[in-house]
């Protein structure tokens, strides 16, 4: 066979055996789609990040000041200046990062701290926002961001009535869950029939406060100086 | 009565599982064996045993005398056939047996002088049976005599006895196990033979043991037959024969269960008693061996029980083989009005039939007639998986699974659960609270497995 002879069939064959050439459609589509996705991301990215921040920020005034004062503040068209920070806590050689929001009044005075934490609940992870006063002496509020507790039972932890118990509790003592009729200052009433869900929330709070009390105090002082 | 009185027997006197159906043996237990008068005609099917049919050696219109050979078994698993009466061959026709098989049969009409009544009884069961004569026979002589006499297992399966008792070089037999359990409810024929002719059984047992070169002879009897046990013990004194007293339980008389109960041995799955060095036969067969060898008389008569509440006067009868069921029942006063089912054999494993012209064969141990009250007629309901069938299965199978596999034709599942190990004792169907016909379904499944192997 003369090698110089190239019949059209063989030529076609060679084309078909070339993977890159075969995939021209895939490649060009990938390019087009990639560019359009980049455009979408460029257009929507900031909005999404804003959404994420707002979700937490919106809650901050209420968590720190209680709903009445927060509403009044909103009515007066005043807002906190919120700075997201990450605080590293080293315990037993493991470094853990807490996401903390520092809230300052418009005059620069420290309004308090809000920290976003999660932990194991009865059914799944529970995600909380905990509000702390500037001196980290008491809890100013609690908000449940995400939970999958038993509907009708454990998920009553999201109710304002139950969450309200936490406002004003001292950070000095560990909180304790009792079945009902909390008398002592550091006691929290359990949600009826859902002791575990209640316990879980309190455990997360206790752990967070233990971890964060000192670092936050330091952080607050540093800013002042 | 204490189980297993011979201390040196290794078995526990019982097997695991099994059932306790009401035995109803009191209906005929105390009726002494009566001899049925010579019938006008006997019908002798050419196949009365497991195996190959015999070949007729007579022609129609030919004269025959009682005990004359009328058929020969040429094949290995086949037997000779003899006329029980004196008369003329009418024809070689066809007859149907309770198990549903249509077979060629020799019809003989009674003519001339007959041996009957007490004389016949004395000839078959009575008289003196020497206990020391076995030593004078060679094993092969005994085996040959048994073959000549056309003896088959009289317990029901009708396996040719000469095949069992022939000396075998490949399998050493050290024990002859004789089955006197009679675990089927209602039947009392073996009991009566044990009671009335223990001598014949002992003599036959010694001969049988000689034929297979067995050193040990054990007769297993259930403990609900104390009188028979006493008679056998007395008769066996001075011989090597031991009487094993076993727990009354169905199916104690099944060969594998009996070997387990008396000897503590387990016959391997799919194996035979000879695999554990045991030859097994029934007490009635022993009496027939004794008659065949010592008196050189063929197997022409046997003892059957005609019983059940559907029969007016339940009796134990000495009948010529070939007697019609009708004649046997008529001799016992006929059927009552509420008779609902006529069974060849006992109610657990026997075959129901409706045509009373069928003959009594060598394997017929009795005729049981049940009334409407005895027969279960509830409709089948769903299996609730209570596991009672598992609790009673003497083969330790899972009957409900087997039945389900059979019903759905799932042969691999049936095989996984060892369907072929089932010997159709019927315990599972007996206890099933949902009235599922378990053993009937399993029987069907076994047939499918056999068909699929071909």
């Amino acid at each position: 066979m003369a090698e110089t002879e190239k019949d059209p069939a063989e030529k076609k064959n060679r084309f078909q055996n070339n993977y890159i050439l075969q995939a021209w459609l895939c490649i060009s589509l990938a390019l087009i789609f990639g560019i359009s996705l980049a455009a979408v991301q460029a257009a929507l990215g900031p909005v999404i990040i804003e959404n994420k921040l707002n979700e937490t920020k919106e809650k901050v005034p209420e968590l720190l000041l209680g709903s009445e004062t927060a509403q009044k503040m909103a009515a007066d068209n005043k807002a906190f200046k919120i700075t997201p920070r990450s605080i590293a806590v080293e315990k037993n050689g493991i470094k853990k990062f807490y996401s903390v929001f520092e809230a300052r009044f418009e005059d620069g005075r420290l309004g308090g701290w809000v920290t976003k934490v999660d932990g194991q609940g009865y059914a799944d992870k529970i995600e909380l926002l905990i509000g702390l006063d500037p001196a980290i002496e008491s809890i100013t509020g609690l908000f449940i961001l995400d939970q999958k507790e038993t509907p009708g039972l454990g998920n009553k932890i999201i109710e304002t009535k139950w969450r309200g118990q936490f406002a004003g509790k001292s950070t000095g003592d560990h909180l304790k869950v009792v079945k009902s009729g909390a008398k002592v200052a550091n006691e929290i009433d359990a949600v009826t029939g859902a002791t575990i869900s209640s316990d879980s929330v309190v455990t997360i709070i206790n752990k967070t406060i233990t971890d964060l009390r000192q670092p936050l105090k330091d952080a607050g002082r540093m800013k002042k100086e | 009565m204490e189980l297993l009185q011979s201390k040196d027997l290794p078995g526990k006197g019982s097997f695991s599982h099994g059932i306790h159906p009401p035995d109803n043996k009191s209906l005929s237990r105390d009726a002494a064996i009566e001899v049925v008068p010579t019938p006008k005609r006997v019908v002798l099917p050419l196949l009365q045993n497991i195996g190959v049919p015999s070949k007729p050696t007579v022609q129609p219109k030919q004269q025959v005398v009682a005990g004359e050979t009328i058929g020969v078994g040429e094949a290995f698993i086949s037997t000779n056939l003899h006329s029980p009466i004196t008369g003329v061959v009418e024809k070689i026709g066809v007859c149907t047996l309770p198990n549903g098989r249509h077979l060629p049969a020799i019809y003989i009409k009674a003519e001339g002088e007959q041996v009957s009544g007490q004389a016949l009884y004395e000839d078959v069961l009575g008289g003196h049976w020497p206990k020391d004569c076995h030593a004078i026979y060679y094993p092969s002589t005994i085996s040959k005599a048994i073959h000549e006499a056309g003896i088959v297992g009289l317990g029901g399966a009708a396996f040719p006895t000469h095949v069992k008792v022939r000396p075998d070089d490949t399998k050493m037999i050290d024990t002859l196990m004789i089955n006197g359990c009679e675990c089927e409810p209602y039947l009392t024929n073996d009991y009566r033979v044990m009671l009335e002719a223990p001598g014949a059984i002992i003599a036959g047992a010694l001969l049988g043991a000689r034929a297979v070169s067995a050193r040990e002879i054990i007769i297993g009897v259930e403990d609900n037959k104390p009188a028979a046990i006493e008679r056998l013990k007395k008769e066996a004194e001075g011989t090597v024969i031991k009487i094993a007293v076993l727990k009354t339980k169905y199916p104690q008389g099944s060969e594998k269960q009996l070997i387990k109960a008396a000897l503590g041995l387990e016959v391997p799955l799919g194996g035979l008693p000879s695999d554990v060095g045991v030859a097994m036969s029934n007490v009635g067969t022993m009496a027939a061996i004794a008659r065949g060898v010592i008196r050189e008389k063929p197997l022409t008569h046997r003892v059957i029980t005609v019983t059940g509440r559907g029969v007016r006067n339940p009796k134990n009868l000495l009948v010529p083989i070939g007697l019609s069921m009708q004649d046997a029942i008529d001799y016992c006063g006929g059927l009552t009005k509420d008779a609902a089912r006529i069974i060849a054999g006992g109610p657990m494993m026997g075959f129901a039939f409706s045509n009373l012209s069928m003959p009594v064969t060598k394997g017929t141990s009795g005729i049981t007639v049940l009334t409407h009250d005895d027969v279960r007629k509830e409709n089948e309901t769903s299996c609730v998986r209570c596991g009672r069938c598992v609790d009673v299965c003497p083969m330790q199978l899972v009957p409900t699974k087997l039945a389900m596999a059979s019903r759905h034709g799932n042969l691999s599942l049936a095989h996984q659960y060892n369907i072929m190990a089932c010997f159709e004792c019927g315990c599972c169907t007996y206890v099933c609270p949902a009235h599922i016909k378990l053993v009937q379904l399993i029987r069907m499944g076994k047939a499918m497995v056999v068909a699929s192997r071909k």
Binding site: F33, L37, P151 | -
Partner: protein, 202 residues
């Protein structure tokens, strides 16, 4: 291929005779996962509809360029792109809903309904037919999701679209908004639809 269904027929078929959930048993994962409230179900259905219509359109446009052994890659590429767009849009404009739906929006990529329509219809039919097919299937899918979600939301919370429709004394059947409720509801509805169509067939 003599009597190809008209585009209108294709549209109608998607609603019940070839309903993706009830007749084809496609896309069951979101049907079970996001149907505990009407809002979530409708949003999900809308997202699927968006992806399905877009993917069908694109596939139909390039159907003559497809090579048989590479078509699945192209389908996946197309679907993934539109799913990502849908996901971003939701995150930007319906942030709470996007959180509720969680991973189920990205999981539309592996929703067999879409790849099935691309394969069965869009890769062989002109654009208009493909779009009407996608629309019909989307509508059928939406109806199926809504039916499951409706039952679950009403029984489980006494509400419909977040509005209370049953008296406040209604004991919420929590199990209905939990995963087992999804299986039970879908099972019973499937049974009912099959029973109904089976009766029609007789």
């Amino acid at each position: 291929m003599a009597d190809q269904p008209t585009p209108l027929e294709r549209f109608i078929r998607g609603i019940l005779p070839e309903n993706p959930v009830y007749r084809q048993l496609l896309g069951l994962c979101p049907t079970l996962a996001v149907t505990n409230s009407m809002k979530a179900a409708i949003t999900m259905a809308a997202a699927v509809a968006f992806v399905l219509v877009c993917a069908n359109t694109v596939t139909s446009l390039i159907r003559n360029l497809l090579k048989p052994h590479l078509r699945i890659v192209v389908f996946t590429l197309t679907i993934a792109t539109f799913v990502t767009i849908a996901d971003r849009l939701l995150a930007a404009y319906m942030y709470q809903m996007s959180k509720t739906l969680g991973p189920y929006i990205p999981l539309i990529i592996v929703n067999c309904l879409i790849i099935c329509r691309c394969e069965v219809c869009a890769s062989k039919q002109p654009v208009f037919t493909a779009i009407s097919d996608a629309a019909g299937q989307s509508l059928g899918y939406g109806l199926a999701l809504a039916s499951v979600a409706g039952v679950r939301e009403i029984l489980g919370t006494g509400m419909f679209f977040g509005f209370r429709v049953l008296p406040a004394t209604w004991p919420d059947w929590a199990v209905m908004v939990l995963p087992p409720g999804a299986f039970i509801t879908l099972g019973l509805l499937l049974g009912a639809v099959n029973w109904y169509s089976g009766r029609g067939a007789k």
